[in-house]
Symmetry: C2
């Protein structure tokens, strides 16, 4: 990966990384309104906020604006925002004039710990999450923790769902640390938070470095995401809530099939960080989406399970067998 | 390039390259109607024919159909048609589930000699040709010259524009051969045509191999395309007609600035193959599009000129200087 990770940086450092004239920043109205001064003097395209705008039509509209700004192949895109903005930015940078360089300034815990890292991008198509997209690496990811000052509580919980995911599949020590701490401590201790974010970025980065195009090990990062994605665009849940329910399901499958004994502890930790572990939903309706997950090929799917805390593994499972477990959940 | 070029093949060979169950063919109604028997037994998506459908909305519609067909990451796309179909196929294969494998079966002279080779793909955005797209190489290009049996005359001329382009920039011997022959001879002599197509595919392939992502030498292939693209989506001209006018303009620039002495012979050859070398059009309106060409960066543009027949070169020219020449053309 040729990405520079600039931890301990601040938004104004952007001017050292790219020149104003050839740069266009994509952001959303929340980030722009909360940090208007930081955007002064930069060409900016401000989008409506929300996962429902992570669609091709938004990309089309941005492309029309780039044409109006006379953006060319030397134009540098910067995505400043949460996961929706970082995903859209990478996608548009992949397809505008067959590819622009781009950088990211994540503004949420989720984007800092996960979405801004690894180059996956995309848009949703109907209920299908990230059905369209590419893999393209940013030139840099700039971390400015001051951007978190405007973050609502729900967004903190949202981000901690991915942090707990990393702990489950890769890092038992971080799992224990999370068990002993709580959201309020991370919110009030900037140093503690910075070190947690950096640790998570490093976990993800190491997985991506080993397997950029998700032939094998990168699939681990989908822990909780198969059911999560199927729920997310059909019900009023955040990404974090959806994958929390998905992780809980994956823990139960791990217990039933492989004797995983710590499903209860995972559920307790999710609950500790304000995340749901069960939900009422229409099994038939969710299964119809789940079975088309990108990890499927033919009649089977690569599903991520746990042997132990910190030990995720990939298990290829026939759809019919998974379906039976799903209807029991 | 990891592409297999299957010259002297035939459409039914497709079954040796990919299995029916996991394959989806994209084609257009003209190709499908003219060769219906060849498509029997294959999943096919049949699009309306024409450059005006080479747009994001068509890609969106195909993606919805792929979802309905439950296409997954193992799905293999095949584009069977002219340049519009091969470009759309490569583009959709680049973005559906972050990338599918694909192969091409070009059905026109233009696609066989040019469009199906080299991995550039994309869609038009308003008047801007291929403004959105990627570079992604097909697994194979299968040549079945029987597909040309249904090709109308205008499409032959269209394809010969790219063949003459290759001769101008890279192959003086082929230029002389074209001067001594004519369209009717190529239409009636299958062996002569097969060897011409293969020669052109090889010229393009060698350029692409040397510079897949168009950092330098690949720009040569844009000879005639800067003005050509600006004309194409604003006037009722084919791609071949548009780039023929563009080549004629580039020859005049070559003469004015570098003493190129054979502009007349290039124009005669274009005319011999039924192509226009001048046209009446609105300079202001065309310049507004031309100046946003993808080869532009900042206030200058890489423009392709000729030193001699078979000797194209790239010249970086300030937009203002090019504009003056353009208004004289």
């Amino acid at each position: 990966l040729k990405t520079d990770f600039l931890f301990n940086a601040s938004f104004p450092d952007l001017k050292k990384l790219t020149d104003r004239k050839s740069t266009v920043i994509l952001t959303d109205e929340h980030v722009f309104d909360a940090h208007a001064a930081k955007f002064r003097g930069w060409n900016s395209i401000v989008l409506k906020a929300g996962e429902e705008y992570k669609i091709q039509e938004t990309a089309d509209a941005v492309i029309r604006q780039l044409i109006q700004l006379e953006a060319d192949r030397n134009t540098f895109l910067v995505g400043a925002g949460g996961g929706v903005i970082t995903d859209l930015t990478g996608y548009i940078a992949s397809i505008y004039m067959r590819g622009l360089r781009f950088g990211l300034i994540p503004s949420t815990i989720l984007a800092m710990a996960d979405a801004a890292i690894g180059g996956k991008n995309g848009v949703d198509v109907g209920v299908y999450k990230n059905l369209v997209g590419t893999v393209r690496q940013p030139s840099f990811v700039l971390y400015d923790l001051d951007l978190l000052n405007s973050l609502p509580l729900g967004e903190w919980e949202n981000g901690f769902a991915e942090i707990i995911k990393h702990a489950c599949i890769k890092d038992a020590r971080m799992f224990h640390q999370l068990e002993k701490t709580d959201l309020l401590s991370y919110q009030s201790d900037r140093e503690l938070l910075a070190s947690l974010i950096r640790r998570n970025a490093t976990i993800k980065l190491n997985v991506v470095r080993a397997d950029e195009f998700e032939k094998a090990a990168r699939k681990l990062l989908n822990f909780g995401h198969t059911l999560g994605h199927a729920l997310e665009n059909q019900y009023e849940v955040t990404h974090g809530q959806a994958i929390s329910i998905g992780m809980s399901f994956a823990c139960l499958v791990s217990r039933e099939w492989f004797g995983f004994s710590k499903a209860g502890r995972v559920e307790e930790l999710l609950t500790r960080y304000g995340l749901p572990v069960r939900a009422r939903f229409n099994r038939d309706k969710v299964w119809e989406v789940l079975k088309l997950d990108k990890k499927r090929s033919g009649k089977a799917m690569d599903f991520v399970l746990l042997n132990d805390i910190g030990k995720g593994f990939i298990h290829r499972v026939p759809l019919e067998r998974l379906k039976k477990m799903f209807y029991k959940f």
